[in-house]
Structures are given as structure tokens and as C-alpha cells.
């Protein structure tokens, strides 16, 4: 024990000697006693000598674990602006090196990490509310981290501290209520700038430190004596209400400009202040508008929203070119973008060239859609090329980025986005969609880490190893889906077709028919996507009512069974083509023979024995019967001209192709004008499907150069099952169209000063004639 005691004393002596004699870098010769701030683990050197630990003239040395080694130093100065310098362990020796001298604390690290300038000369407002009006400069390597893309500073071997700022950040609390309003981030590498705006009245960043920026924006890694993270004061993505505009480049002193993500906005659509944004809208202005900084061309939108739970379920991707002229003021400049409050209405009331609507159908597997539900980002590259750049880009088949994401699209939409609720599958759909696709099962690449279920290659080409999928289509062209087909290994295994008053379901060698209530339409109701709390709630209530116990889409039999009405089954019968005629059900059937069985009244026709063969099934007004198949037979109606209204030139040519046959016909129309000097000019060419027992309307815009009597000819060439060769029909018309201004006169009206050239021509003649006369008077030459 004595030995131990002696050793213990000796150790103290040695330690004391070392402490007193050796030039310890941290505490060589303390001039003043620091003021301890134990609740923050800090020693404050009162360098301005006011006897207080303050935030404007002192140096705060943080030693949170009391090991005598500084983990962070904050130095406050009045220069004359009020600034704070943050020093961390730049030389990677595990501590912030400093020396206390008679003049104060001498920091031995080469460069500060952060310099913060209080724009209004104070860190705190009355009542100790933080004053979020400041400029911040950060020196060091960083990378984006987390959902909000905060700036992660640690983890680099080379922390790139060179005294040159790498990050420029600015913050504003315009009304001094302690709630930050704007944040601007300017990055040197990569060249980038963004503005984040807060609209959330509950966003009050709180710090446990007296210096409000520490612990909020500035996140130290105490164990490594380094500043770990510079967080956004205003979260860019997870703030329930707010938005950001990113530019993809520094602004370089411009005062007014549009952004790229312009903006990406988040809304508390439910109005429940639960911290979850029910709506996120990403507006992209990919193309800048030359010389018109206030004019913004909106090109893409991702409009994602949640309805019944805090999880994104629906999404509209919109593409086109919609111009807006806005100027939203910000501190120090203005940005040309749609004001935050108007964005949802702007998106839903604008006409877009193309749209992809999606509903995430998975009930078990919940994905985090922090930026909304992604569209196929590889496909939209080609889509932009085609729709926005007008390039002849061949579009691959569309492939949803995720399993169980039902997506419906139209790349020639050219209207405002409208949704409708189908009573057939009890789901929301995109009005006028060309096609819908839901991938239920597929072979997925386990090494794929792009964040999607499919690889980049699969998404770009639309080719994936799909096991089960469902397609939706609008076969009669009325804007609503009427045909669902379930595929297994690319083979159709189930098909469900809706026509007014009838639904037909085919599986294997049985065809089922159900007579539906006559008032059951393809759409139960239509709506715009929700744009405010009221419309969100209305939609929520409707969906809650109408989607209750809706069948999953992996079985069309369940859909068929859930529909009301009496039904019958035609066994030993397979389904062929179904006509696109919207007015009735016309389908080709092949049966091995139907036996006489009792059937409901509507299906009395099938109660008899029907021999094997090919038939045409027709169903109209609640009655069903079979006919012998017959080929298409098309005639053209007379061509009429509808002049455009007002002073607009030209008009529309209107005529119909009427199919009296029992098969749809694939037709090619060529509309020509016979020219007076011989030959013809092609006005319009079109491929069209003419439904059986129906007609196809043609409305062709026509702007002839001048008016008068014009001779037109429409020629329709068509093919159809049961037709051995293409058939042809024609219609001719002589039309009188209103005449624009008489053109012959325009040649001279354009140059009314004809006197000068006429006089010159006369003078030339007056000069030439006597000249020629004089030559004629010459004698003959030898």
C-alpha cells in the first residue's frame, strides 16, 4: 500500500511538474481565468473583459467530456459586423489546438471551418429568440446527406481546408418571429444554388446551446472534434409546408431568373399539422427562356399525394410546355416561379402534352417516397426528347419503376389532367389514358441499387423479366378504360371487357357475360387531383366510400364477381377480337358448341343448342345474340367545310367513314386537293380504326392559301378480317371557301412606290430606241 501510495504521489509530482514546466499548447500561461459554462461543457475566455460569457467578444472552448482537449472553439468578434468563427480539428490530431496567452486565446489550427456573420448585429432577439438573419461561410469538403441533402463534412481524408469558402449559406427571418423564412445555399463545387422557403408556422429550430446556430445548423462530432454536418435550417424535403428552388448553377449576380426545380413544394393538404406533407409538387423548368427572365416555361411536374394515410399513394407526372410570367420576391433577388399558394391549382388547371398517372397498389411493402412517387426517369429522358425537343425519338415501352405501381399514360393528352373513378375496378384512373400497366410480379436483379425495383437498363428499354402483369386499355376511345387483360408469362390468361350495360369476362375456354345496370357508366365520377384541403377531404370521403373492399387487381374474376347483375357462362367457348364500337358489345366467339341449358332471361338466346363454329356475339340494350361473321363494308359521307370562327383563316373538313359490316376495319385515309394546273396536293393522311356497325368521324383542319372553289377527294383504303384484299372507297367534293385578301394586288401594295421603277423603265426605253435607230442608220460593214 505504501509503495502504491508513494507511486501515486510521485505521479502527481510528475504531472504537476509537467503541467508547470512543459509548454502545454493549450494552457501555457493563462492570462485570465475562463468562465465555465458547465451546461454546455464550455470554458469561455472573456477576451473583451466585460466579465461575462458573451457571444460578441469572447472565445468559447468546448471540452464536453472534460478531458482537457478542446473539441470545438467558437470565437466571437465585432469586426465591425458581429461574426462567429468556428474552429475544429483541421490537422486531425483529435483536438482543436490552441494556446492561452496574456492577450487571449491563440488558436493554432490553420483555418476556421465556419464563419458566421449576424446580418443585423445580434444572435438573439428579445426574449432569447434566435435571430436567423445571418450569412455563413464553410471551408471544407462536403457531400449531400440524408433526405434533405444536408452537407456532411466528416468522412474525408482530405478535409480541403484552404481558407477558401466552399459553401456560402444565408438565412433570413424577415418578420423576426424566430421562424426562419428563407435559406440560400451556394455551392462552389458542383456549381449549384438553391433557395429554401419555409411556410410552416411550427418550424422553430431550437438549440440547447446559447449560441443558437450550434446544435441546429452546426452539428459537431464531439468525439472527433470536428464539425460533422451543416444542416439546413429549413429542411428542404421533410418540412411539412415549404418549398425550395434549385438552380443547378450559381446565380452570378442575376436579379431575376427561373430555377430548374422551380420549385419543389410540400403542402399540408390534410390541414392536420401532423408533420407529414400530403402533397409534394416538383415543377421543373428545364429550358430557360431566352431574354425573358420573368417568363418561365414549365416542362415537367411530379404531383404526388397521399389520401387516407401518411403515405404517398397517387402521383401525376405531367410533361409539356406551359408558360408563366411570375416574379416572386426574395431577399436580394426575385425568382420567376409560380407562387407557392398557386402551384397546385396551376398544375391542375394547365394543359399538358403528356401525363402518367400512378397509384401505388402495394398494401404490405411501403416505400418511402420523399420526393414523391418517381416516374420512370430513364423513360422520361426519351419522352422529353420527343415531346419537348421535337426529336424523332423512338419511345420504348413504358415500364413502371416499381412493382405494384399501377401507371396509366397518355403522351398526346393535350388537356388538363382529370381523374375518374371506375366502378368496374373501383379505382382512380387518368381520363383519356392510352394504356395502363401494373406489374404484379417479376424477376428482379438483387444487385440493383438504383432505388427502383428495376435496373436502369430495364427502365430505359422497357424490357424486364415480367411474370405477371395487367394491362388496361380504352378500346372504344371514349376516354375511359374498358378492357383489362391479365398476363402470365406474356400470355393473356384473363380478359374483362366493359360495354354499356354489359361486362364480358373470358378465362380459359369459358366466356362469362353479365348484364349490368343500364346506368352503370365507365366513370362513376370525375375529379381533378386535390389542390387544397377542401378538395382533398372531398376526395378522401369519396374514396373511402367507393373503394371499400375493392378487389385486388391480380384476379379479374374477382372484379367480375364484384359487379352487380345477372350473368351466364358460355362454356367451351373462346373469345376472339372485341369490336371498338362503344355503343354495343360486338365480339368474335369460337365455340365447340353450346348445349341447351336454362339461363336468365337476358341470355335466353343461349338457352338453345348452338352448333360449333365461329360467331359474332352482339349485346345491346340488355339483349344478346349470335350472328354469322361478315366483313367490314365502309362508305364515306359527303365532305363538308366548317369555316373557322371570327377572322381566323381556314376551317375544318368534316366527314365520316361508315362501316356497315360486322368487323372492325383498319383504314388509311388520304385527303387530297385536286389542283387546277393538274396534279394534287395531299392535305391529310391518317391511320384509323372504323368500328363494326359504327362510324369514324374525321375532322381535318385545313387552311387553304386562298379562297374560292376547291376540289377535294378523300380516299379510304381498309383491311378487315374476312376481306381477302384491301378494299377502297372514295368521296369527292367541290367546296367554296372564304377568300383571304386578294393576293395578286399584294405584290404591288407591298411596294406602292412604283413610279420610280416605271419611270426608269421608260427612260431606258427612251434611251435604247434612238440608240438602236442610230445603229440601223450605219452603213454596211465590209
Amino acid at each position: 500500500m505504501a509503495l502504491n501510495h508513494g507511486a501515486h504521489r510521485l505521479r502527481w509530482v510528475v504531472l504537476l511538474s509537467l503541467t508547470l514546466l512543459l509548454p502545454h499548447p493549450a494552457q501555457a500561461a493563462p492570462a485570465r481565468q475562463p468562465i465555465p459554462v458547465p451546461e454546455e461543457g464550455a470554458l469561455v475566455y472573456d477576451e473583451n473583459g466585460n466579465g461575462q460569457a458573451d457571444l460578441f467578444g469572447d472565445t468559447w472552448v468546448y471540452d464536453t467530456n472534460s478531458d482537457g482537449r478542446a473539441e470545438l472553439i467558437l470565437r466571437f468578434r465585432q469586426e465591425p459586423a458581429l461574426v462567429a468563427y468556428l474552429y475544429d480539428d483541421a490537422n486531425a490530431n483529435g483536438q482543436v489546438d490552441y494556446l492561452v496567452t496574456g492577450a487571449g486565446v491563440q488558436i493554432l489550427e490553420a483555418y476556421w471551418r465556419v464563419k458566421l456573420t449576424a446580418r443585423e448585429g445580434k444572435w438573439l432577439l428579445p426574449g432569447n429568440v434566435p435571430d436567423w438573419n445571418a450569412e455563413m461561410v464553410v471551408d471544407g469538403n462536403y457531400r449531400f446527406s440524408g433526405t434533405n441533402a444536408d452537407f456532411l463534412l466528416t468522412g474525408y481524408r482530405d478535409n480541403h481546408q484552404d481558407g477558401q469558402p466552399d459553401l456560402l449559406l444565408a438565412y433570413w427571418d424577415v418578420n423576426h418571429d424566430g421562424i426562419p423564412d428563407y435559406e440560400r445555399n451556394t455551392l462552389a463545387i458542383p456549381p449549384y444554388e438553391e433557395v429554401i422557403a419555409n411556410r410552416n408556422p411550427r418550424l422553430r429550430p431550437h438549440s440547447r446551446y446559447r449560441f443558437p446556430w450550434l446544435g441546429t445548423v452546426l452539428q459537431p462530432d464531439w468525439a472527433r472534434a470536428r464539425l460533422a454536418l451543416v444542416m439546413h435550417l429549413i429542411p428542404s424535403h421533410t418540412n411539412e409546408q415549404g418549398y425550395y428552388v434549385s438552380f443547378g448553377r450559381p446565380l452570378q449576380g442575376q436579379l431575376l431568373l427561373p430555377g430548374w426545380e422551380n420549385p419543389f413544394a410540400f403542402y399540408d393538404l390534410a390541414g392536420d399539422a401532423d408533420g407529414f406533407s400530403e402533397l409534394s409538387v416538383r415543377l421543373v423548368s428545364e429550358y430557360e427562356v431566352w431574354r425573358h427572365p420573368s417568363l418561365t416555361a414549365y416542362n415537367e411536374v411530379r404531383y404526388s399525394w397521399a389520401q387516407d394515410e401518411n403515405h404517398m399513394r397517387y402521383r401525376l407526372y405531367l410533361i409539356g410546355q406551359v408558360f408563366r410570367n411570375d416574379s416572386v420576391p426574395y431577399p436580394s433577388y426575385a425568382i420567376s416561379h409560380v407562387p407557392y399558394e398557386q402551384i397546385p391549382a396551376f398544375v391542375c388547371s394547365s394543359q399538358w402534352t403528356g401525363a402518367i398517372f400512378g397509384e401505388y397498389e402495394a398494401s404490405q411493402r411501403k416505400l418511402s417516397f420523399d420526393e414523391g412517387i418517381y416516374e420512370n426517369l430513364l423513360f422520361t429522358v426519351a419522352l422529353r426528347g420527343r415531346l419537348l425537343s421535337q426529336r424523332a425519338v423512338e419511345l420504348p415501352p413504358y415500364l413502371p419503376a416499381y412493382l405494384n405501381l399501377r401507371e396509366e399514360y397518355n403522351f398526346h393528352l393535350n388537356r388538363t389532367p382529370t381523374l375518374y373513378f371506375s366502378p368496374i375496378d373501383r379505382r382512380l384512373h387518368l381520363r383519356d389514358a392510352q394504356q395502363g400497366l401494373l406489374i404484379l410480379d417479376a424477376h428482379l436483379d438483387p444487385n440493383n441499387h438504383n432505388g427502383f425495383d428495376f435496373t436502369d437498363q430495364e427502365l430505359a428499354t422497357g424490357q424486364a423479366q415480367v411474370l405477371r402483369y395487367l394491362t388496361e386499355s380504352d378500346s372504344d376511345g371514349d376516354g375511359y378504360f374498358d378492357t383489362w387483360t391479365l398476363y402470365f408469362y406474356n400470355q393473356p390468361v384473363e380478359k374483362l371487357v366493359f360495354r354499356r350495360g354489359t361486362v364480358l369476362f373470358a378465362r380459359g375456354n369459358t366466356v362469362y357475360l353479365k348484364r349490368l345496370p343500364a346506368d352503370l357508366h365507365a366513370a362513376l365520377w370525375e375529379t381533378s387531383p386535390p389542390t387544397d384541403t377542401l378538395s382533398w377531404r372531398v376526395l378522401n370521403e369519396r374514396l373511402a366510400t367507393d373503394t371499400a373492399e375493392r378487389p385486388p387487381l391480380d384476379s379479374l374474376a374477382a372484379l367480375f364477381a364484384a359487379l352487380p347483375g345477372e350473368s351466364t357462362a358460355l362454356s367451351n367457348t373462346s373469345l376472339g377480337a372485341v369490336s371498338t364500337n362503344a355503343g354495343e358489345l360486338i365480339a368474335s366467339l369460337t365455340t365447340a358448341g353450346l348445349e341447351s341449358v336454362a339461363r336468365p332471361q337476358a341470355f335466353a338466346f343461349f338457352a338453345q343448342n348452338i352448333p360449333a363454329g365461329e360467331y359474332l356475339l352482339r349485346g345491346k340494350d340488355g339483349a344478346y345474340w349470335l350472328e354469322a361473321p361478315a366483313p367490314a363494308a365502309i362508305s364515306l359521307s359527303p365532305i363538308t367545310f366548317i369555316p373557322a370562327s371570327g377572322s381566323s383563316p381556314g376551317g375544318w373538313l368534316l366527314f365520316y367513314a361508315i362501316n356497315g359490316g360486322a368487323q372492325d376495319a383498319q383504314a388509311r385515309l388520304q385527303l387530297t386537293e385536286t389542283l387546277t394546273g393538274g396534279g394534287f396536293a395531299i392535305i391529310h393522311e391518317e391511320e384509323a380504326l372504323v368500328p363494326a356497325y359504327g362510324q369514324r368521324e374525321f375532322i381535318v383542319p385545313w387552311v387553304p392559301a386562298i379562297g374560292g372553289e376547291r376540289r377535294l377527294r378523300a380516299r379510304l383504303t381498309y383491311t378487315s378480317p374476312l376481306l381477302s384484299a384491301p378494299a377502297q372507297t372514295e368521296a369527292e367534293a367541290t367546296l367554296t371557301v372564304p377568300a383571304p385578301p386578294a393576293p395578286a394586288a399584294t405584290l404591288y401594295l407591298a411596294f406602292p412606290d412604283l413610279l420610280a421603277p416605271l419611270l426608269l423603265a421608260t427612260a431606258l426605253l427612251a434611251l435604247l430606241v434612238p440608240g438602236l435607230q442610230a445603229l440601223l442608220s450605219e452603213e454596211a460593214r465590209p
Binding site: W290, P649, G650, I683, A705, F751, V769, E779
Partner: protein
């Protein structure tokens, strides 16, 4: 009466004044017919090149348009613009058409030497100036006027060297001038120069043939070979050392035949738009042939005159009068090569034997007319007195016929030289309203700067490139070439510019206007309307 029979005191000045006055009035007509609102593809392109040279101070400015066949004309106009302080377009549109007066002067000097009579020289120059292709190409803002000057100078020097030079000093001086002129022509348009050399060589062969046939003791002609070889040396230097774009043209020719054609007929450039679709470009079918009536007259009378000289040549008693010291000898010598070249390309035109490079008349007819005009004047001079005697009793009728003929010739010339829009469909004018509309378009249409390569807005502005030429001529500059205007060759466009002239032009070509029923009218200035086609309304 020829020069020798005229009194020695007769001054050539009145005849020269007459020829200059005709050309001056023709130039004024050219300028006033459309109030100076002229645009045309070659001139627009040349203006573009001159601006590049002028703005960069380099003959081959990197990344800017250049004229691959030579640099002299752009350099020359740039220098004029620099010295005068006037802009390039002013020179091109308003001042350089008067270069036709210099051409007239040079032609008069040459013809006076060839014909020996100021009156008939003036007649020949006037016939030349009334030739539509010559007038058109020497008025518009392209390089041909400079080519013509240099070729006239070269011919004049050759004739002078043969006729007048006795001392070595004179010969050396003329040789120096000749080589300078040929060098200049090589830098102006190297393939024009090779074509001219080819013409001279053909003349030399013709010379040899005549000498062998007649066994005349005319002076040996190897110096023609020397100057031809020297000219080829200059061409070689320009193509392979001085001016890389010319080499590129040669190398990018598809095959040997095309290269030969290029060198012999300077046929590399596509034909001028004005004559590119001969039939479609005139309102009346066959109008182009009627408009060639004067050319047919000119070449027929030239052939007759030439045949008369041939007959004279083969009469031994008169052969001495047609020695190489005789002025007429050169008419006899030079006409066949020019004419044969022209015949070759006319056959080529008719048969389509050179594919897309047809319609070379615009390039070669003026050159042939250089020699055809004095020959025609020579022929007329021999008929004049006989005609006068034969019609002595019908002086009034003769005056009326002469007046009518003059009016017809003049009308044909004026129609052809300005491509008179009453009859022609390929127009070389624009209206002030169209210019204003295009300027507005260029300044105001949203332009997708970040997507310059793949999303440039395009404008449909009629069935021809007329307003495209205007855009190129007027609005293009280093920082302002934004809105390309396209014609019917383009199938995609974002904007449609309509004017009464565009409508009429579309009708003339039997085409329908673009569908603008769903378009948005974004600009109107009274006559011109501009429509924006939203994506769904685009073709």
C-alpha cells in the same frame, strides 16, 4: 463602218456614255423595283461570310461561316466597309450594284479593241447588259461581279498583248498585270479560275487547228500555254496551300468525274434558287423559254457573226486581215470554247446527266455572253445598212418595230433580272412588314438557350427560303442567330409567319398553308401574322 473607216477624230465618249447610262438606269431599276428590299440566297450567304470576315478580322474565322471557293470578295467588301464606315449590308445592297458601271467600262474597253468602233462597242456592251443572267448575277450581292471584272481584265490584257505590244517592256508590264489578275481570280473563286483556264486552253486548241488547216504564218502561240500553266499553278497553290476550304471542297467531291466537273465547269455549288426549278418557278408554263428569247437571239446572231468570220478566215485573200494582229481574230478564237462549254451544260440540263448540279447556265451563260455580245454586234453591224436600205420606204413602220422590239427586249430583261413576281414564283424581295415581323420574332421568341443543339425553334415562313435568306442576311450576327426560318423542306416547326406574300407564294406553288387553326397568334403588324404552335398543334 469599222474603226478604220471612221474618222480618227471620232470620240468614244458619247458611245461610252450611252452604255454607262443604260447600265446606270438598269441598276436604278434593280434598286427601286422593290425599294431596296432585296434578298436572295447567294447574296444572303455572301453577306453572312463578309460579316464573319469583317467582325473577326480573319479570312478564315474559326466557327463562323466561310466561303469555301475563295476569299477575295469578302475581304474586298470588308475593306470597303472598314474604310468607309458603312456597314456591310449597305455596301452589299445599295453600293455594290453600281459596280456594274465598272464592268460596263471594262467591257467597253475590250469590245472597242475587238470591234474597232465605239458605237458597236457600245452596242455590244448594251447587249451584254440586257442579258438577264449577266445583269442578275452582276447586280446581286454575290461574288460574280468581281469575277466578271477580273475575267474582262484578263481578256483585255490578252487581246492587248497580241494586238499592241511591240516592246519587251510593254509585254512585261502586260504579263505582270495578267498574272496579278489571274492570281486575284484564283483567290476570288478558284474553280472559276480553273474554268477560265480551261476555256483558254480550248481556245489554244482551236487556234492550233486553224493554223494547221490554213497553214498560215501566224505567230506561234506557246505563250497561251504558258499563261494557262501559270494559272493552273496559282490554282494549285490556292487549293493546296493558301485556302484550305477549297481543298476540302475538292476532297469531298464524290468521285473523279465530280472533281473534273468542278475544275472544268466550276460546278460545285448547288444552283441558285432562282433557277433551281425552272418550270415551277414561273406562273406560266414554258415562261422560262420565252424569257430566253433574247438569249436565243444573242447567241444565234453571235453564231452567224462567228460563221461569217470563219468564212472570211478561210478565204485566203482575206486571211491576212484575220491574223492574230486582227481584232476580229480573237472573236473567232474565243467564242467556240465559251460556247461549247455552254452547249455542254445545256445538254446536261436537258438530259439531267450531271444529277443535282444542273442549271449551270446562270454561271456560264454570262461568260459566254462576254464573247457572244461583240459577235452579235458584229453581225448586226453587217445587216444594219442592208436593213435600212430595205426598209427605207417604211421608215415609220421601222421605227415602230424598232421601238416594239426594244420594249420587248427590255421587258424580258427587267422581268428576268428582278425575277418579276407577277410572273415568277421564286422571289427576291421582301416587304418591310415581313422584315419587321422577322425582327420581332428574332428578338422576342423564347429561345431555349441551354438546348441549342436539339431544341431550336423553327419558323415556317413560306414555300421557299425567301424569308430564311432575309433572316440570314439581316439578323444573323455572332450573338444573334437565333431563329432559323425554314421552308417547306422542314417538317417540324414551332412558329408560322404569314404575310399576304407568303400566302400568294404558297398558292403559286400549289401548296396548303400550315395548320394554324389551333395555333396562338402572337404577333400582328397589320400585314404579317406570327403564330405559335403549341406542341399538340405541331406537324
Amino acid at each position: 463602218m469599222n474603226a478604220r473607216s471612221e474618222p480618227r477624230a471620232a470620240s468614244p465618249l458619247p458611245a461610252l456614255a450611252f452604255a454607262l447610262a443604260v447600265r446606270l438606269l438598269l441598276t436604278f431599276y434593280w434598286l427601286t423595283r422593290f425599294g431596296g428590299h432585296l434578298t436572295e440566297s447567294d447574296a444572303a450567304r455572301t453577306t453572312l461570310v463578309i460579316r464573319s470576315v469583317f467582325e473577326s478580322g480573319q479570312l478564315l474565322p474559326a466557327g463562323k461561316p466561310t466561303y469555301p471557293y475563295g476569299y477575295l470578295y469578302p475581304a474586298y467588301v470588308s475593306a470597303l466597309a472598314l474604310l468607309s464606315g458603312l456597314d456591310v449590308l449597305t455596301w452589299q445592297q445599295w453600293l455594290l450594284p453600281f459596280a456594274g458601271l465598272i464592268l460596263t467600262l471594262l467591257a467597253f474597253v475590250l469590245y472597242l479593241r475587238l470591234l474597232g468602233s465605239p458605237k458597236w462597242a457600245a452596242c455590244a456592251v448594251t447587249l451584254l447588259n440586257l442579258q438577264g443572267d449577266f445583269l442578275y448575277t452582276s447586280q446581286r450581292g454575290s461574288h460574280e461581279k468581281l469575277d466578271f471584272m477580273l475575267i474582262f481584265l484578263a481578256l483585255a490584257v490578252i487581246v492587248l498583248a497580241a494586238l499592241k505590244t511591240t516592246s519587251l517592256r510593254q509585254r512585261l508590264a502586260l504579263a505582270a498585270v495578267y498574272y496579278l489578275v489571274i492570281l486575284a481570280e484564283n483567290t476570288e473563286h478558284v474553280f472559276f479560275a480553273t474554268t477560265f483556264t480551261f476555256t483558254l486552253l480550248l481556245a489554244f486548241l482551236f487556234w492550233l487547228a486553224m493554223r494547221r488547216r490554213q497553214q498560215l504564218q501566224i505567230m506561234a502561240s506557246p505563250w497561251v500555254i504558258y499563261i494557262a500553266l501559270m494559272s493552273l499553278l496559282f490554282s494549285f497553290l490556292v487549293i493546296f496551300y493558301w485556302y484550305p476550304p477549297a481543298r476540302a471542297i475538292l476532297y469531298t467531291s464524290r468521285d473523279l468525274l465530280e472533281r473534273v466537273r468542278l475544275i472544268l465547269f466550276s460546278a460545285a455549288e448547288p444552283p441558285a434558287e432562282l433557277y433551281s426549278m425552272v418550270s415551277a418557278n414561273w406562273v406560266l408554263p414554258g415562261a422560262w423559254l420565252w424569257l430566253r428569247v433574247f438569249d436565243i437571239f444573242l447567241f444565234t446572231t453571235a453564231l452567224i457573226g462567228w460563221w461569217r468570220l470563219v468564212r472570211l478566215f478561210f478565204r485566203r485573200s482575206e486571211a491576212s486581215d484575220l491574223s492574230q494582229a486582227s481584232s476580229h481574230f480573237w472573236l473567232l478564237l474565243l467564242f467556240p470554247p465559251f460556247f461549247l462549254q455552254n452547249v455542254a451544260v445545256v445538254i446536261s440540263d436537258i438530259t439531267g446527266s450531271v444529277g443535282e448540279i444542273n442549271n449551270l447556265q446562270i454561271r456560264l451563260i454570262p461568260l459566254t455572253a462576254f464573247v457572244a455580245a461583240p459577235l452579235s454586234a458584229y453581225a448586226i453591224s453587217h445587216w444594219a445598212a442592208r436593213l435600212r436600205q430595205a426598209t427605207a420606204r417604211f421608215a415609220t413602220l421601222r421605227a415602230i418595230v424598232v421601238t416594239l422590239l426594244s420594249a420587248v427586249v427590255l421587258t424580258l430583261t427587267l422581268i428576268k433580272s428582278v425575277s418579276e413576281p407577277l410572273l415568277a414564283n421564286a422571289w427576291i424581295f421582301y416587304t418591310p412588314a415581313e422584315e419587321a415581323g422577322l425582327a420581332w420574332l428574332n428578338q422576342n421568341i423564347p429561345y431555349i438557350e441551354a438546348e441549342i443543339g436539339r431544341r431550336t425553334p423553327r419558323v415556317w415562313a413560306g414555300p421557299t427560303f425567301r424569308l430564311g435568306d432575309l433572316w440570314r442576311q439581316e439578323t444573323w450576327s455572332t450573338g444573334d442567330h437565333r431563329i432559323p426560318v425554314f421552308d417547306r423542306g422542314q417538317t417540324t416547326y414551332t412558329y408560322v409567319l404569314l404575310s399576304p406574300q407568303v400566302r400568294l407564294n404558297t398558292l403559286r406553288y400549289h401548296e396548303a398553308l400550315p395548320n394554324i387553326l389551333n395555333a396562338q397568334r402572337i404577333y400582328v403588324n397589320g400585314e404579317v401574322e406570327i403564330y405559335y404552335l403549341p406542341p399538340e398543334a405541331r406537324p
